[in-house]
């Protein structure tokens, strides 16, 4: 499911539309959140180290990173629960310095959902409406509408503690969205759900975000979740943004070896850089030989002490059946391991000559869709691997 192709659903708000009713590209939309050189210290600990980012109207934005990378801290500084040590946070153009959490145009879905246990579902959803000037009946109607939006129509009278995890999360969503915030902040909202429920909620959240047209900022450590749900993703390590880009770009063109390693599965092989050409960089890779990496696929971020390396996704290479010709390049090898997943399998293949540089074998991981009726290759058999220089990324 592509988050940038909206489905035809009823809309309440959202970004400007073109004549076909499609939302305008994210880059051209109004800026909703802007962080400029945001730093946060806890005593000596430097939790946020100069965060610069802009999040735009009606965007589904994710902060992705391992635990302790500062993503939750950043979300909490946007919500107003943490003061920043230096820098500027703007929401819808207004400086949020000295603006407490209760008057910010943001609402949060907490990781624990934070459903008030002493109130009913309807009372929870209506919690933020105390100063709303509408009549009691109008508020009750708004609560019922908000509950219907999250699929909990008729649950209003239930006690909050009688709800399941998924229902609590829906109540938390309704409670935040009823206030029509400019930004909805979600702190790992799906981490407490089981896999099936999580996948279902991912799709529902995407639909909901499109329906209400509110900017969503999601914190997650699950790269798959971020890819599924987000328009754009900021990958964070140690209090810094390592890469901020569209989901697809993040997957296909990771800015550094570390990002590539964090997002999905990536094969890494040592490489020798032979020289720059007009269109790219010539490299020598054990098992693959000499070839040219296109300039667009060259990352100069951090080769680190490991030296230059090339990376490619398991699905960027394929196993060839016995006599099919390779569309581009091919290289021989032996199948060392097969991991069967039902719909697909992983094959670990040791390419001939892969130990040429350092004496270590570097088996590569190849993913193949399993087709009904076709025999799977056997363990230990010789095979041919088809690949293309265009799907290889160089980290130098």
């Amino acid at each position: 499911m592509n988050a940038r192709n909206p489905m035809p659903v009823a809309r309440e708000g959202g970004p400007a539309r073109d004549e076909h009713g499609r939302p305008t590209p994210i880059e051209t939309r109004r800026v909703m959140i802007e962080c400029r050189d945001v730093h946060k210290y806890y005593g000596d600990y430097h939790a946020l180290r100069g965060i610069d980012l802009t999040i735009r109207e009606a965007e589904f934005f994710s902060l992705l990173g391992p635990s302790g990378c500062g993503k939750t801290t950043l979300l909490r500084t946007i919500a107003g629960f943490e003061d920043i040590s230096s820098g500027v946070v703007l929401i819808d153009g207004k400086d949020m310095a000295n603006v407490p959490a209760n008057v910010r145009p943001t609402n949060m879905v907490f990781q624990s959902y934070a459903i008030f246990p002493h109130l009913t579902v309807a009372e929870n959803v209506a919690f933020g409406l105390r100063r709303d000037p509408r009549s009691r009946a109008e508020k009750a109607a708004a609560v019922e509408e908000a509950l219907a939006m999250v699929g909990l129509r008729g649950y209003g009278a239930r006690a909050a503690h009688a709800l399941s995890g998924g229902q609590r999360q829906r109540v938390a969503l309704a409670r935040a969205l009823i206030l029509k915030p400019k930004v909805l902040l979600l702190d790992e909202p799906l981490s407490a759900l089981d896999r099936k429920m999580r996948e279902q909620m991912q799709v529902e959240l995407i639909k909901l975000q499109r329906q209400v047209g509110i900017t969503f900022v999601l914190v997650t450590h699950d790269q798959e979740e971020a890819l599924v749900m987000s328009d754009r993703i900021a990958v964070m390590f140690e209090g810094e943004i390592a890469q901020l880009s569209f989901a697809e770009e993040l997957y296909t063109r990771p800015a550094s070896r570390r990002v590539a390693d964090f997002i999905g599965v990536m094969n890494f092989l040592p490489a020798r850089v032979l020289g720059d050409t007009a269109t790219g960089v010539r490299v020598d890779v054990p098992g693959f030989g000499e070839f040219e990496v296109p300039a667009a696929n060259v990352s100069r971020a951090d080769a680190g002490d490991k030296g230059p390396s090339v990376g490619f996704r398991p699905e960027a290479v394929t196993l060839l059946t016995r006599d099919a010709p390779a569309p581009d390049r091919e290289t021989p090898g032996v199948i060392e391991e097969i991991v069967y997943y039902g719909d697909m399998s992983y094959y670990d293949v040791r390419l001939d000559g892969s130990a040429r540089f350092d004496g270590q074998g570097h088996p590569i991981r190849i993913s193949m869709r399993n087709v009904f009726g076709r025999d799977l290759p056997d363990l230990g058999t010789r095979t041919r691997v088809s690949w293309s220089p265009g799907s290889v990324i160089l980290f130098r």
Partner: protein, 289 residues
């Protein structure tokens, strides 16, 4: 399976046997004795084994009993109010302000008054408030007063102060426990949904702390109604409460059946009040799964 359960039950019974024996000997038997006495007839220096409801009629018709019972309820209510209202900020401070690693030390400090006996703690207030007590001699040496203040001791106010001090930890600890159980993200949620700190306290913290507050109310209210020592020492016998009346009937006047009837009646009144509180508490406890 049944035999296994049976032996398990027998094992359980053996384990609780010592406290059970203690409870029967020291609680159940005396209570039953008092209950029996209250239906017997008083004779001179003896008890006539003759069933009667006369004692209860005497209790309910006695204006002195009514006055002292109402005074006991009033004093206990006032003590409870003062204790809980003063205990709440302490419990709140302990739960929300004190750093987790210092909490054990603070709880330890709060329980220090228990290192001395209840009697001595009550007597201490007599030393503080007395005619030649700490306050009077202090004020006198400072030249603020010439004659010692006589309104400090021997009145309802001094009884309330003394009992509130004596029962403070009993109120602080249950409220503290209730506050500790509150998920802090609920308070952030309250703020996030547009409420100030004060309104978040009112709408989230206080309702969730109510089970602790009601527990504190019960723990302070019930024993203070029947308190005997404080009215005697601090009230100077001028403001007797129901326990003093029972003591007088039982020992001074030697009308044990009437004294027993007063005790049973007072217990019944306290029991009814406690049930009302428990009913209230259940409404709040429903909240907690």
């Amino acid at each position: 399976m049944a035999t296994a359960n049976g032996s398990e039950a027998a094992q359980g019974l053996r384990m609780i046997a010592p406290p059970l024996v203690y409870a029967i000997l020291m609680l159940a038997i005396p209570l039953l004795t008092i209950l029996t006495y209250s239906f017997l007839t008083d004779g001179y220096q003896t008890i006539i084994r003759e069933f009667t409801l006369e004692n209860y009629r005497a209790v309910w018709g006695d204006p002195i009993f009514r006055t002292l019972m109402l005074r006991s309820l009033f004093v206990a209510g006032l003590v409870t109010l003062v204790t809980v209202v003063l205990a709440f900020p302490v419990a709140y401070f302990l739960s929300f302000v004190v750093a987790p690693r210092h909490k054990a030390v603070w709880i330890f400090l709060i329980t220090i008054p228990f290192w001395t006996s209840y009697l001595i703690r009550v007597f201490l207030w007599k030393v503080i408030l007395g005619y030649n007590g700490v306050i009077n001699s202090g004020l006198k040496s400072l030249g603020i007063i010439e004659q010692p203040l006589s309104f400090l001791l021997y009145n309802t106010g001094s009884i309330v102060v003394t009992l509130a001090h004596a029962y403070a930890p009993f109120a602080i600890l249950p409220i503290y426990v209730a506050l500790e159980k509150i998920d802090r993200s609920l308070l952030e949620a309250g703020r996030d949904l547009g409420e100030s700190r004060l309104m978040t306290f009112w709408r989230v913290t206080l309702p969730l702390a109510m089970p602790g507050v009601l527990a504190a109310v019960l723990i302070v209210f019930i024993p203070t109604i029947g308190d005997y020592v404080t009215p005697t020492l601090i009230g100077g016998g001028k403001i007797p409460m129901v326990a003093n009346l029972i003591q007088a009937q039982m020992l001074d006047i030697d009308n044990k059946p009437l004294g027993s009837a007063i005790a049973v009646t007072a217990m019944a009144i306290v029991g009814v009040l406690a049930l009302v509180f428990l009913f209230l508490n259940r409404r709040f406890l429903k909240v907690r799964q």
